[in-house]
């Protein structure tokens, strides 16, 4: 798993690539928590290059969404596809975390 961050207009876009599973998700969790602790209120998780997400990965995404919500912020998801998209659909997470087809649209929704 690799994480790339990019901040534009107060929106932090975090692109995650590779596999997000029990082994790699603690790293993303740490990253998300520190980004939120820095006071970022608007996050976009770009999953365009994410190949796989396990329940542990889902938990980290959910935890991030909940955490930022407590601080009146919002976490958006962008570019869900394939297996990842299926997992979000099956688990119903797509109904509780706003998802967008493109990073751009997620970005615009935030600004």
């Amino acid at each position: 798993m690799e994480i790339q961050k990019k901040k534009e207009d107060n929106i932090m876009v975090i692109a995650v690539s590779g596999r997000l599973d029990a082994v790699t998700s603690p790293e993303l969790e740490k990253e998300l928590l520190s980004i939120i602790a820095e006071g970022n209120k608007s996050l976009v998780l770009d999953f365009a290059k994410l190949d796989y997400i396990s329940s542990a990965g889902l938990r980290v995404v959910l935890a991030g969404a909940k955490k930022i919500k407590q601080q009146q912020g919002i976490l958006r998801l962008a570019c869900l596809k394939g297996v990842v998209k299926e997992v979000f659909e099956v688990s119903g997470f797509d109904s509780i975390i706003p998802c967008f087809d493109t990073a751009d649209s997620a970005f615009k929704a935030g600004s």
């Binding site: 329940s55 542990a56 938990r59 119903g92 109904s95």
Partner: protein
Amino acid sequence: MIGKSGIALRISLLVLSSITVIFSSVFIYNYLFSRQIIQTNIERNAESLTQATVNKIDGVLSAVERVPINLAVFLEEFSYSGGELIGLIKAVVENNPEIYGAAIAFEPYAYSPNAKDFAPYFFKQDGKLQFTYIPYDYFGWDWYQIARELKKPVWTEPYFDEGAGGIIMATFSVPFYKRIEGERVLTGVVTADISLSWLQKILSSLKISETGYAFLISKNGTFITHPDPDLVMNETIFSVAEARSDAQLREIGRRMVQGDTGYAPFTSLVTGKRCWLKYSPLPASGWSLAVLFPQDELMTDIARLNRTVISIGLAGFFFLLLVIVWIARSITRPLRGLSKAAGQIARGDLDAEIPDVRNRDEVANLAESFRFMKTSLKKYIADLRETTAAKERIESELKIAHDIQMSIIPKTFPPFPDRDEFDLYATIEPAREVGGDLYDFFFLDDTHLCFLIGDVSGKGVPASLFMAITRTLIKAKAAQGLEPGTLLTRVNEDLCIDNDAVMFVTLFLGILDVRTGEIRYSNAGHNPPFIMRKAGALEKIQGTGGTALGTMEGLVFKSRSVVLSPGDVIFLYTDGVTEAFDAGGALFSDQRLIKDLSTVTNGSVKDITESIMASVKAFAKDAAQSDDITMLVIQFRGGASYTTAR
């Protein structure tokens, strides 16, 4: 030694050999240069000493020569009586201490027609003046004949004179003339003798270091003076050269007789030592003086200097050797200690003593680093031991948790041997760690079988505990006779309370009416189960739009229903099946599951489960199992048997 003190030996060898080279160069240069200086000095001294001696002797000889020359002039110019002549001679011998004797010898009948010979002679004997007439046969003597024939003053070869006191002497003879009718007629010879013992005295007074000496040879090489009295008058320089077969000496003699001046190496005739020989002619007499300078005595100083320098050099060399060995050892001793300690540490003895290094140098730093390394290693190993112990404890606790988890999941099949309305089989293949999958089934009443399958987010003890809570909550709510959707809604509310860890569980819960085959179900974000129709069709069960339990408060879960016909099978699974990885990272996938399921439509519930499990394992091969693999399979047999049983 070499192996043990390699550095010490190498430093010693390098430094000492360098020093030896430097010292030798300095020594050799110093030796050659000082030798050169001394030799130049010796040569210069020899030159001046020889010249001074030559001048001294020559001065005396010249003074002696003047007396008969003046006398000859007087005899030619003036008339004289016999008495006057004798008086003259007497005065000459008396007044000239260098002159041993003097004579005026006349030609036959030149003094008087009556006497053939007339040669009055005064000489000194034992300090007294003696007078004699030289006997009649003096005309044939060298001192008379040579001067007469050559018609010029001449020094005779030295000779032994028996008549005049028995001494060795040399005579200076001057012919004198008389004017007779305007013509110069040779009338006789005036002579002056010198005693060679007097010359010997002059030469022996020369102080030439310890054993140096001087000697004098005559025109034909006869020794006039020499420290060895046997040589004097008896031998010539050539006869000695002959006796010694010494070509060098012969050459020296030749040059001396020729009247050359020179400087040559020479072996002493007296001491046999190696010498330098300086020779120079005495112009007045045609004799030649040689002075010998013993080489070793002149080189004594330089030899002593050399001995001192070599001694100092050797002492310095050994001192340096000691210093270098000491330094090298002071460096290598702690190094050897360190090396030994390192060996002990390498063998696992972390209490090995690190030697103290007193100096604050690199070796001390090394020792300090060693000590630090040892302490760190010790600490690290202690930590590791502790960590390992902790890890082992955790692992054993995890094992226990795993066992407990497994024990609370029903694993006896068939679970209800007395019920023939359905067949049920389930399996759970936990991943290495304690997993978060669960399944359960239980009768709500006689005719309603509640079954569920779920997957808790994450793994390990937290997942396991969350699973246990979920299972307990569901069992408690189910007993209240709630609809599946309502049941899950309530469970979700409870799970969301204080769910700080943000754990959630995807869950499918169904209630089968064993009489009719109807299943009322609700899905909380779980993989939708498949219905395998007896006719062969494979259907994915319709969703209820639910989200995983525990994600958010206030979620409302809906119920749906599906009806099984006798022989139909409902296949429930967790994502451990579809998301099993092979070594290349590929997923088992829904497609593969569907394909595999379609090949086992006629199998028993156990067959179906085992077949899928085998397929998953064959797919994953050696890849580590990352998630629990759980399946729950129910085949509806039909309510008829139930009704008949009643």
